[in-house]
Assembly symmetry: C2
Homo-oligomer: 407 residues x 2
């Protein structure tokens, strides 16, 4: 008789963003006259840039002709895209990463969720708190945690690294030594960034203790400060301890197009076993490549025209971030992030829980944020707003929050 993966039953309720979606839909059905502005889920609103649209049309044409039709993609992704990535994202920044260390995928969420598979079940996982839920949930599903404790909002067996106002939302090295360390900078959800010096300390620590850092750099394109590292491979020794995840979702508005990549350096070994062949095997066995047309779209992001257009789009979102940050700060809110990141981390007023504040914002300002508690216990009493809305919506949302008399 078949039996299920009992670890799935440890997960309380549904995936955070599905849960929020349901509440918002329920509110909208009950109040059809209200126009709800969504600054909750980190989804972009600006259309794909012209260079990407052109590349897509061209690639679609190719797929319609026998001479240029493409079937299955190469296992690691097309060389034209891996080459563009290696050159632009790594070599130009002084990182020693070659194209055959880049694995093209349909997004960082999948890769972040799947990467844990190549590690043993008894690895001790450390995550920031608050944290992007996928890191934790995928490890719960794999049986790498104990039970969920409703009171603390934590799973047994996970090392939580609080990111608070006190430490500038950058975690301290934990007391207990972990095996796998998830780091994400610029951070989702807090919008915090990490200095190169501090990131170097993590890399040194990982090399000293034999940890692997799983570095999510999905938001690196939002960094404007020249001293903030875009890649963990800007640090010495990172090739021996770190895997990096990147995404086109926020860099170029690909949330609905799906493209990302993972970097596994050839020199990264665990117990003398190189990780590159393990991830290659996972990729080759359980994945079949990103669509050719989407890989061509990704290539176009690195063209001169594409780079310029994408930069403008990011600037647009970062101006949104400025409106939210400045507007709410001026109104008396405590506001974090939003400078080198598209997320604003808002302290809830008057001692509200983050779900209370979420409900207040939804019902009184008709604005959707993401309750910080959904990202972990240290996210309690915070709420995440994103800069990915339309300009007019963003400005209106800020005005509505100011006028809602919540403070």
């Amino acid at each position: 008789m078949a039996n299920i993966n009992q670890d799935y039953l440890k997960l309380p309720g549904s995936y955070l963003f599905s849960a929020i979606g349901k509440r918002v839909r329920a509110y909208e059905e009950a109040h059809p006259e209200k126009r709800v502005i969504r600054l909750g889920i980190g989804d972009v609103t600006q259309p794909l840039v012209p260079a990407v649209i052109d590349a897509l049309h061209r690639a679609v044409e190719e797929m319609g002709e026998a001479q240029t039709f493409r079937g299955y993609a190469p296992d690691l992704g097309y060389a034209f895209l891996r080459k563009a990535i290696a050159e632009n994202d790594y070599v130009k920044r002084g990182c020693d990463i070659s194209e055959d260390e880049i694995f093209i995928s349909d997004g960082a969420k999948c890769d972040c969720g799947n990467i844990q598979e190549i590690f043993g079940k008894d690895n001790r996982v450390a995550v920031c708190d608050p944290v992007y839920p996928v890191y934790v949930d995928s490890n719960v599903m794999a049986g790498r945690t104990g039970k969920y404790d409703e009171k603390t909002g934590r799973y047994e067996g996970v090392i939580y690294m609080p990111c608070t106002q006190e430490n500038g939302f950058v975690p301290d090295i934990p007391g207990e030594v972990p095996d796998l360390i998830y780091l994400c900078f610029p951070n989702n959800p807090t919008g915090a960034v990490i200095s190169k010096q501090k990131l170097q300390k993590w890399v040194d620590y990982a090399n000293d203790y034999g940890c692997v850092i799983l570095y999510d750099a999905a938001y690196e394109a939002y960094i404007s400060d020249p001293d903030i590292p875009h890649s963990i491979y800007e640090c010495r020794g990172a090739r021996r301890c770190a895997i990096e995840f990147r995404s086109f979702s926020k860099t170029a508005g690909f949330t609905g197009l799906r493209l990302g990549f993972t970097v596994v350096p050839r020199s990264l070994e665990v117990q003398g076993v190189p990780l590159w062949p393990l991830w290659a095997r996972r990729h080759g066995t359980k994945y079949n490549g990103a669509p050719y047309i989407v890989q061509r779209a990704g290539e176009a992001v690195y063209s001169e025209e594409g780079r310029q257009q994408v930069r403008e789009q990011i600037a647009y979102y970062m101006e949104n971030a400025g409106y939210i940050y400045d507007g709410l700060k001026a109104a008396g809110y405590h506001v974090y992030g939003g400078v080198n990141a598209p997320y604003i981390w808002l302290k809830t007023p008057r001692g509200m829980t983050s779900w209370e504040f979420f409900e207040h914002l939804l019902s009184r300002a008709n604005v959707v944020g993401t309750p910080g508690a959904g990202f972990g216990p240290s996210g309690e009493a915070y709420l995440r707003l994103t800069a990915f809305g339309r300009r007019e919506d963003t400005i209106e949302a800020v005005e509505r929050i100011k006028d809602a008399g919540i403070l």
Copy 2:
């Protein structure tokens, strides 16, 4: 100190098709004057049909305009596609499957590889022998098997169900009761099909013993015989014991576009736990949807125009199958499959092993097949040819094989 998933080390060598690719590239580099014809990997060669190309262009246009841009897709996939699938693939065939039981994905390979995650580690897995390697390899990676035995070509702990000339390449109910049963019809690699009566026996067996059938129907579009079931849900009681995988890869030439779906009926329970929410949770946590433009392309396959064009493409490939089947049979080979399936299962001549025959075909006829042994021990002494080549290549390949004097 981190450690790796030791189960990955049980996998011998690389993924079958990667291994073949390497040998073929090595041959081509050594013999640049030879034109190699690939009838090995099951990749299509005909361009996408006009209805699909038009839908792609239209969807790309939408992605370039702010008013029609789409970000993250709904968790299960867009309703327009799920509706088209439910109506055309299920309701029209008398299957009681509704659109909310359909999970859109980027292909059946991923879903077949990932589905095992929602089951416990101690489920006993039964597979056909020979078999599509993903079913076995994904279970090896999950630790659901013992070691690989080089002598027998089998993993400890897996129930292999031989599919041989004697049983018409349709497995018999195994002596030992499994928990999870992988079935694939029309079959890859043998090209065999299963009658509704025989499939009903499997469904009844699964319901009697509490097994779950993981039914891969990726090739159902190639069925021409009206008595052969296209879906396992044509059988009574399948909603209580079966998950079905479908793909647009072979139906509509989407190998490079990536689209598939999985059906998990609401009434399918294991130990009283419905599987639908488990798969929904996996989908929501570790996957982020197929591209909007690709889902629109999938929808176009179900339009009147699309259906007609895709039917013609399938007819083209099935004529190829006829050329291979008839040509090699007339030449004295023992040939199976190829009637309701795009695969021809060829007995190796003169007692050759399947890798020996592969090398003969490559070096003497410059034709690539897939060695049957790569699909499991009962595939030894067979070779798979696919009907997905271009017409002129297919005809030439058959002539070359005839002329190579291998028989």
